[in-house]
């Protein structure tokens, strides 16, 4: 967790200095994640999600100087986003029934926050297939350094290391090493959240 926060604090420091590349990295990393965070909480309404996420990121920009690196940037953004969602629902009186997702339970939030620092947290059981998929996607969103993206590109889209290297603008060795770290982080996060090994999880998902 410490490493993620340090990297995040460094990214924010670069942004405060006006570094365009840092801004791009920030936006490309967090905009899709926040969109996925907001959309299901707003009944999948893309316009509402756009409004809320834009307001969240604008608020975050205005408060960049106040980011103290006490939590990962994504957790900080999610906190702002939750408040924006509540405000949006208050004004529009819609989506109220969908505000509470399985991810919003205190227990799940605690476990998701702990992804980067696996500990003896109580694992979670008993979710439906859809809920399990949603949680796995949330896990991918909370992995550091675009690990979620490279895992998807490699294992769902079947992209080669060369293609991923091109997408990220880095060398192939760096991608191989990133993929190895991403796999470890993903396995570890799944075990933290579900309390079972990856092999058991896949049979559970297929069994539902």
């Amino acid at each position: 967790m410490k490493k993620i926060v340090e990297a995040d604090a460094e990214l924010i420091a670069l942004m405060l200095k006006g570094d365009e590349a840092a801004f791009r990295r920030f936006f490309e990393t967090y905009f899709p994640r926040l969109y996925r965070f907001a959309a299901p909480r707003l009944d999948g309404d893309p316009d509402a999600a756009k409004e809320v996420v834009q307001a969240t990121l604008i608020k975050a920009m205005r408060n960049l100087g106040n980011y103290r690196g006490e939590a990962a940037v994504f957790s900080w953004l999610c906190q702002i986003c939750r408040r924006q969602i509540i405000d949006h629902v208050r004004v529009h009186r819609r989506h109220a029934s969908r505000l509470a997702l399985v991810e919003d339970s205190d227990e799940m939030q605690r476990v998701l926050e702990a992804i980067a620092a696996p500990s003896a947290d109580e694992p979670l059981h008993g979710y439906s297939a859809d809920e399990t998929r949603l949680i796995v996607q949330s896990v991918l969103d909370r992995l550091p350094n675009r690990y979620g993206d490279v895992l998807e590109w490699k294992y769902i889209e079947g992209r080669s290391v060369e293609e991923i290297a091109e997408l990220l603008g880095v060398g192939q060795i760096a991608v191989q090493s990133m993929l190895a770290r991403a796999r470890v982080a993903f396995r570890s996060a799944l075990e933290t959240v579900f309390g079972v090994a990856a092999s058991d999880l896949i049979s559970g998902m297929r069994g539902h």
């Binding site: 942004m15 006006g18 990121l57 294992y155 080669s160 990856a198 896949i202």
Partner: protein, 340 residues
Amino acid sequence: MNNRDDLNSDDAEIAAILRETGMRAEPPEGMVRDVQAAVHAEWQAVVKTRQRRRTFMWAAAASVCAVVLGATISLKVVEEQGRPVATIQRAEGEMFRASDSEHWSRIGEGQRIGIGDVVRSDARAALQFDNGLSVRIDRGTSFSIAARDRFALNAGAVYVDAKPGEPTEDFIVATHAGIIRHLGTQYQARMRVDGIEVSVREGRVIVEGEGTSSVATAGERLDISTRGSVRREPILPSDETWRWASEIAPPFSIENASLVAFLEWAARETGRPLVYESAQVQATATSVTLRGSVDGLAPEVALSAVLATTPLRRDETKDDVIEIGFASPIDSASTRRLTP
């Protein structure tokens, strides 16, 4: 390229979970661009304000060493700083002002803003500058007032309306892709991450970038990148792009105003030419005096509401013009006082 065959057992397990889960949803491409432009502009505004503050701190420290020499100059700067130059005529929601970018205070209709103020607005708003210009800002806009004739657009969009026939001083809108000067006009400038869009509804504007200068006339939109490339395309004065500015138009006071004046206002706000079916219709419009209020109504809605109280009607089959005729063929052209 699919390289699934290369997967070892470790990979295969991860791949199976991910395929079972499916790809995470991606936001639509157009949405990414819109949001990125808004957030980037806000980020730039934050960075610039911090840099300005740092420069100011250095300048303040330096001035200690040259206090006597600088006294006269400083007094002049202080005198200008904070001098009110515009009034918020209308605001649809929350607006905030800071003179140091950290201590934001809420502002609203009727309040004055001055030189050195940084303003951000979550809502649309209309400002009346003391030099006669009407300036409207779209949602999510951030700007600062550098001088009584200089407005720095940091994010969002601005619509400048210099009414024809009313003398206005030079007014400059500064952006990251160039500065915009107008020659009696209605135009809007919208910030993007990598440039600006300048659309001209009436009159003419000049956009000056680094070593480049482009002129846009009524019915043209310039797409200017920060790298200096310019794309030009036509835009109708009644294009949807103008709608937001029309919706936040400063209220037109109809009390004791002639119907003609109101129709001219509505035509200008909606970007449609005003046409009378006959000289008799025009004479009737000139003779009608209005009473009441259309405050809070968008020009299109106000037009329908007002005409409904007069012997005149708009030909609804013609969308590209506001064509006015008699509601009934035998209607009189007598002067009436009306209350919508």
